[in-house]
Subunit: 453 residues, 2 copies
């Protein structure tokens, strides 16, 4: 069966999450006449994968809370033909059509022609090729299907239940916290010397301390070497595991694009231009399946984050809808909350700065989130990097309690403005005792760094 002949211009979107549906919605806003078909192989559209750890930990009540808009809403309110359980299985960029498998109706396949295609196939959790990895008992944290599965386990943990999280990235640590909250004995193994490798090791050590203080059994310098039922084998011995969660990060889910001959780069991330157009005519792409360019290093990087996916999707949608928009690139901003510790970063860390060829100075300062005498004033640590000679701010990392992390946005804005740390000291930031010391911690760091140059 084919849905090929038609009068109106047709956009086909592959992938019903942030990057796909934000493009579809934006294209609809600009072009009311466009026919829009969105294919999603799972059951849900537009959900918050970032919220999964909080669902599993019990902060968020139901799985449905993570769904921003369901297929019905897209159909009725946005005139978008959102087809869940419909999986794109191949793309023919010359014939401009997509082969689709309809899992709702016994796996029948059909061919769907497009005038414009938008690929938003997202990411897949990294699964090292180890014995036993595909047993089905090793859980990724990506889709709402994963979420439902993990939530079921979390709600039915037996006494003395043991959870092993393989990998010390954001999701790994957030999942570890979730299972500690549920009362499980939770172990995180990470091959690096410190968890959260996007932070410098000196900051990572503090994150490790905080995780351990909350009851996470953290094994650094430890890699999984294989899995069997109830066990995780590592280079440092074998761990008992009633449940294994993968927290090794994600990679681009770009196989469809690769098979269609669309150009990909590092890690098979889809390469797009400033308007999110791929190497194939009339084929756009956005989100976790794509690469993004880094404003500071000038390189193509892989950043799988909801904010980036939304912005890229919106950019693609504007161009698809006949408007003009470019994606401005990323500067490596990220934030997470681990137990009570807020962790934020932007720009480059020391390792990234060296890799990009920057010479730099860095300082780390300690201050408080509010005026020292004000109730709730909590410690905050700010590390900041500036380029030698130019004095340009290159990056920052912030660790602290309630109210600490969002200050990273000031540094992100300053980096976007190409400010020197000296220029940063001139910022007229807000002050009142419930919010900040007189010199905001970000300003203290800028000042110390400017003095050291």
């Amino acid at each position: 069966m084919a849905e090929g002949s038609r009068g109106r211009r047709r956009l086909v979107v592959i992938g019903g999450d942030a990057a796909g549906m934000s493009a579809a919605s934006q294209a609809r806003r600009l072009d009311p006449d466009l026919e829009i078909v969105a294919l999603e192989k799972g059951r849900w559209t537009s959900y918050s994968a970032c919220g999964i750890p909080y669902l599993v930990g019990g902060d968020v009540a139901t799985l449905e809370d993570l769904v921003a808009r369901d297929p019905q809403t897209f159909r009725t309110q946005h005139n978008i033909d959102a087809r869940t359980l419909h999986e794109a299985v191949s793309i023919d960029v010359d014939a401009k059509k997509v082969e689709v498998r309809d899992h709702e109706h016994g796996g029948r396949t059909y061919s769907l022609g497009y005038d414009v295609l938008h690929i938003a196939t997202g990411a897949t959790p990294t699964r090292p090729k180890l014995e036993g990895i595909d047993s089905g008992a090793i859980h990724g944290v990506q889709t709402l299907e994963d979420a439902a599965d993990l939530l079921h386990h979390a709600e039915h943990l037996g006494d003395g239940c043991k959870v092993v999280v393989v990998g010390g990235g954001y999701i790994g640590l957030e999942m570890a916290e979730a299972f500690v909250k549920r009362g499980a004995h939770t172990t995180v193994i990470t091959r690096t010397a410190q968890p959260l490798g996007m932070f410098d090791p000196d900051m990572g050590a503090l994150i490790a301390d905080a995780m351990r203080a909350e009851g996470v059994d953290l094994h650094t310098g430890t890699s999984a070497t294989g899995f069997e039922k109830g066990k995780v084998h590592t280079n440092n011995g074998t761990l008992d595991a009633d449940l294994v969660v993968l927290g090794l990060g994600v990679g681009p889910n770009s196989k469809l694009a690769v098979d269609a001959g669309i150009e990909v780069g590092e890690r098979d991330g889809i390469i797009v231009d400033r308007r999110q157009l791929t190497s194939a005519p009339d084929v756009y792409s956005a989100g976790d399946c794509c690469l993004a360019f880094h404003r500071l290093t000038g390189e193509q990087v892989y950043v799988a984050l909801g904010t980036v996916a939304n912005k890229m999707g919106r950019t693609a949608g504007t161009n698809i809808g006949g408007g003009y928009a470019t994606f401005p690139g990323v500067i490596g901003t990220a934030v997470t909350k681990l137990c009570k510790l807020e962790c934020a970063r932007t720009g480059v860390n020391e390792k990234e700065a060296r890799a990009a060829g920057f010479e730099f100075k860095s300082v780390t300062i300690e201050s408080t989130t509010r005026a020292g005498y004000f109730p709730g004033a909590a410690p905050i640590k700010v590390k900041m990097l500036a380029e030698k000679r130019s004095g340009r701010v290159l990056g920052a990392q912030i660790l602290g309690q309630e109210g600490a992390a969002k200050r990273i946005d000031v540094v992100a804005t300053a980096i976007t403005a190409d400010f020197t740390v000296e220029e940063m000291t001139a910022l007229d930031l807000s002050y009142a005792p419930p919010f900040s010391p007189v010199w905001d911690p970000v300003l203290i760091a800028s000042r110390k760094l400017a003095e050291s140059l």
Copy 2:
């Protein structure tokens, strides 16, 4: 008696609070040989006037908590001869000397020569010339003497005690909240249609609602016309008042400078150059007695804020100590917390934009402080102004609950960078469910505003 002849270069600082002591400390850092004498007419040095409402309200335990450094610390750790209860009564800029009254020793006076003078005499609360204003029962909120006095009253409020706050500025509203917390029936009168005139009336109306919801009896469009024991007369009738607090703002305490022939501008604020030098040779000034230049409007403005005083003081101190520093100006950033409502602003509001000759567009958006589904997600409202044609961001006002206000710093940084609202939409701000929706409220406002231009 004179302390005139000497070998070392001598800095005399008039005023022992933020602007004075930060200059003294910074000068000391750069020049270990400088003789530094700091004159303070009151009993305390380096205290947080911004903290007084929180002391009176009981959030801060003791008056001493508000003192950052006492005179003894300055003497022993910084080699600064900090003389409390010593009041500068006149300056002779030609002879380069200050006449000082020593209140500790029976009011004897002496003459103190200087090589460099730094005037940091701060602000005095605005006292309208009304009958009864000088009865001694009408309390300003400025010095720690005021604080001690108000705290004593707050701790000894009788049943059904009535407090009237005259003026609806920051300090007025913060003091009203403090007395409500102490159980007093508290009335605020303000002549404007809404309190907190630094916010546009549409935002001010929400502040008024919040104050009323917390039990403050707010009378707008109401001015005091006179005072007598136990009563405040207004254009809208007479109010009973066991205690009257002035919250009409402050003005420069610049009489010493005016009398010495030093150039002053609007409201008698001392005029300084970029290095904080006044019109008199070797006389610097900083803080609430000075004017500051506004980066957006290009005008000399009066901004009595602790941050500004500290930065100006540090700038003066660097120059006095032989270094080089310029004060970068202000952009009108301010923040306060009124009951649970966080209120922040930066740049210009609509009235200020018109006064400066700007044509502009504005939008107001509503969002949440965290991902909508995340526990503790609270409403936040962002109003943003951009210049017509250029699209340059001119200002923003934020109202919301916990976590809302500090986002103003992103806009303050963007204004300093001369960003357009379109450029703001490109900012790579941090996102995770406990901190923000996927599109930070500041980005939503930028986007809507960019679309409206």
